[in-house]
């Protein structure tokens, strides 16, 4: 049976949460109602990336791209588009798009993107191994098993220049080499899918959209380093990804692509899933291994590195999901092809979760070396509500805050380090003029203090102290000496902490002090928050000239701080005011001001 048309429904997290499942069912029902079950297949795919406009529906072979589709629209899509061949223009991204140009070519969001890691996301049904195989899936595994020696595989990965996508950017091939060099015996291959960065969901989307690519890569890595056992360590907060991984492992085992004697090559490799339990520090290699061993996820000093002494004391390679998703492509297309993409020191592409105050939130993949300006303004469609761009943040709680003057710096590992941030796992958060920098730094410190495992003093005590200073500053009781103290503590934490969490926890402060010192100073000296975010620094007043005495503010005030007669100007009693801002929101005459 061959289908004539395909309706692809995005099954990414954002779309699924947004009535995506109901939409999928509605489309299936509509296809059935029109008696087209044999001609049209409805497929639930992985993330198509354009989360802002979800749920997304794509029709093949016409390549029509529908956005913000609701379950009620299913009938229109099937009845109009499929049956009568008429494009449903009201569901197009640009309602005035010409009828001949209805695919992604007409959408800025997809220009400048280049997909390696996400090659299958949004194209195949992640629950069907046959669709992965049809797109050259498991071909790379076959190639290494029958045409390459383990050391050739490692050499190829090394030559490609691919670096770890989990944060630090260590060359993947080197890691494999270290583990391969260890004496033969039990070794392990671990996939780190404990994506704990707030505001990052690349790994989740990859696993949900294309789980087999990661499994295939793990088997290839296992072959290269001489491991026959793999673990995927994944966040328990990602139930859908876990479910799709389980399905994928079962299917691959059934097909003989995992398990004993793969494809009759004599190489055996099996994969087990281990769940994380909500500890950010477990993204750190040694803590992650402790957690797989069923212990508290506390890091241990390195060396010995996991490649020498890892899981249960055996040599272990730990690679991030995105890193692994690159591997099959590198093997099939060759290191040379791969190393042509990107910049001198950073090869390939990078997936970013583009979020915050941006018009097009979503999941994007761009070649290394793309500038922030291209990402934020061309792909992201600029700042929401026409506001001014203030800063971008990469690398989550371990990363830095990037000011506008670096919009044109090509993004790669080395350039980001130079401007005081890190690549991190790929969260890219955009901030506008309404965001207060000390407040953001406080948010990140709050996170790292909460997530510090408490083993070493610099992180446990230093983090808490930093947070206390930031709280003081945001309350308006900070001093300039506090800033100096923060700098000292940051440096001590950076040098003396045991693991990456503590070493980088002060990055949001260090980088923001470097570029946004004025804002800290304003909080301290003028008791002013220019973003009007720090409540303690705000004061509300009513302009008598504009107030018509409608009493709306007085009625909404939760502490009765506003008094005044009907049709007479009202007054706020600042001693009572709790600065909740409800009067400001409710006033229709712009009579309430805040400063």
């Amino acid at each position: 049976m061959s289908y004539k048309q395909f309706i692809l429904v995005c099954g990414g997290t954002a779309c699924e949460s947004n009535k995506g499942i109901a939409l999928f069912t509605a489309l299936k029902n509509a296809v059935e109602a029109h008696g087209l079950v044999n001609d049209v297949q409805v497929v639930r795919t992985g993330c198509l990336g354009f989360c802002e406009k979800g749920p997304i529906v794509k029709i093949l072979p016409q390549d029509t791209f529908y956005v913000e589709v609701k379950p009620e629209d299913a009938e229109a899509i099937v009845g109009e588009h499929i049956v009568k061949g008429r494009v449903v223009s009201r569901l197009l991204y640009d309602k005035n798009q010409s009828k001949t140009n209805v695919g992604i070519e007409g959408i800025d969001f997809y220009q400048k993107q280049f997909r390696i890691v996400l090659r299958n996301c949004g194209v195949i049904d992640p629950d069907k191994i046959d669709e992965y195989i049809a797109r050259d899936g498991y071909k790379a595994l076959e190639k290494v098993l029958f045409e390459m020696k383990p050391e050739e595989v490692t050499a190829e990965v090394l030559k490609s220049g691919v670096r770890g996508r989990g944060g630090a950017g260590f060359p993947t091939g080197k890691k494999w080499q270290f583990a391969a060099m260890q004496p033969a015996g039990q070794k392990y291959m671990v996939c780190n899918a404990d994506e704990g960065d707030p505001g990052a969901y690349m790994d989740r989307s990859t696993l949900e959209g294309d789980p087999h690519s990661v499994l295939e890569a793990m088997a290839i890595a296992g072959y290269a380093i001489g491991a026959n056992k793999g673990y995927v360590y994944i966040r328990a907060e990602y139930p859908l990804a876990i479910q799709r991984l389980e399905t994928a492992i079962a299917q691959a085992t059934e097909y003989g692509l995992l398990g004993d004697n793969i494809l009759g090559s004599g190489f055996s490799f099996s994969i087990e899933i281990r769940l994380g339990a909500g500890a950010f520090v477990c993204g750190e290699e040694t803590a992650l291994l402790a957690s797989i061993e069923g212990k508290r996820g506390m890091p241990t000093p390195r060396p010995p590195f996991p490649a020498v002494k890892g899981l249960w004391g055996r040599p272990t390679v730990i690679n991030n999901v995105e890193t692994l998703a690159n591997i099959p492509v590198i093997i099939l297309k060759g290191a040379e092809w791969f190393s042509k993409i990107g910049t001198h020191g950073s090869k390939g592409t990078k997936v970013f979760a583009l979020t915050g105050k941006i018009n097009n939130s979503g999941l994007i993949e761009v070649p290394m070396g793309t500038t922030l300006r291209e990402i934020i303004f061309d792909i992201g469609g600029g700042i929401r509500g026409g506001k001014k761009f203030k800063a971008a943040q990469t690398g989550g709680p371990s990363g830095g805050i990037i000011p506008p003057q670096f919009l044109d710096v090509p993004i790669d590992y080395d350039n980001l380090a130079k401007i005081g941030s890190i690549m991190g796992s790929g969260g890219l958060i955009v901030m506008d003029e309404d965001d207060c920098i000390p407040d953001i730094a406080k948010f990140y410190l709050d996170f790292t203090v909460d997530e510090s495992c408490g083993k070493c003093a610099p992180c446990r005590i230093g983090g808490r102290k930093l947070l206390n200073y930031l709280e003081k500053i945001c309350k308006g009781t900070g001093t300039l000496q506090d800033i100096e103290n923060m700098k000292d503590i940051s440096e001590a934490m950076c040098r003396a902490s045991l693991c990456g969490l503590g070493q980088t926890a002060s990055n949001p402060i260090t980088s923001s002090l470097r570029y946004f010192y004025e804002e800290y100073k304003e909080h301290i000296e003028e008791k002013k928050c220019r973003a009007k975010k720090c409540k303690n620094l705000l004061s509300y007043t009513i302009l008598a000239a504009k107030c018509v005495g409608c009493t709306a503010c007085a009625r909404v005030c939760p502490v009765n701080a506003i008094s005044g007669e009907r049709k007479q100007p009202h007054v706020i009693d600042n001693a009572k005011c709790i600065k909740c801002g409800q009067c400001y929101d409710v006033c229709k005459f712009q009579a309430v001001t805040r400063a």
Binding site: N18, G199, R274, L275, S291, E293, A353, I440
Partner: protein
């Protein structure tokens, strides 16, 4: 502590499925976290009595089990409300007013974070990024995700959940 033959009313104890799961995992190294996940899936939290039983069956000191439970954010020692309102505190949600949503919820329900309302119906929890940043700010109630929420809608949301309960 040995297993009581018939646990008193209101005291949780391992279900046969859980016992089978533990038996299956007992020989695998590093099984503790997987077992605790299954326990929490069943009860919604890890009841004290059950932790005792797990310690017995896995031959693991109770102190080690509590060490693990309290280390990880995901494991709960207290029973959450019948409807646990999880407000995302990822960066995107924070920037778009996640904290205000929590404030509003606390005011409406009259309880603080990680506390259950006296009738046992609701509890509020601030959770780590749930990965729907495109929908920020986001909250999850009973497995359903509510995206792009605003403080003024919260009263209505609580009412609609209450109404759903009555209908059921």
């Amino acid at each position: 502590m040995s297993n009581a033959a018939t646990p008193a009313k209101g005291i949780q104890s391992l279900t046969p499925e859980l016992k089978a799961f533990i038996a299956e995992w007992k020989t695998k190294p590093g099984n503790l976290i997987m077992v605790l996940h299954r326990v929490q899936q069943t009860f919604g939290y890890i009841p004290r009595e059950v932790a005792f039983e797990v310690a017995d069956l896995l031959d693991t000191p109770l102190a080690k089990i509590y060490g693990v439970i309290t280390f990880y954010n995901f494991f709960k020692l207290k029973k959450p409300g019948r409807h646990n309102i999880q407000v995302c505190m990822g960066t995107a949600c924070y920037l778009k007013g996640g904290e205000d949503i929590i404030q509003e919820m606390q005011e409406i329900l009259g309880v603080g974070l990680n506390t259950v309302t006296p009738d046992g119906e609701f509890s509020i929890e601030a959770v780590r990024c749930i990965g729907c940043c495109g929908l920020a700010p986001v909250l999850v109630v009973d497995g359903e995700v509510y995206g792009k929420v605003q403080t003024k809608d919260m009263q209505g949301l609580i009412q609609s959940i209450k109404a759903k309960v009555i209908k059921e």
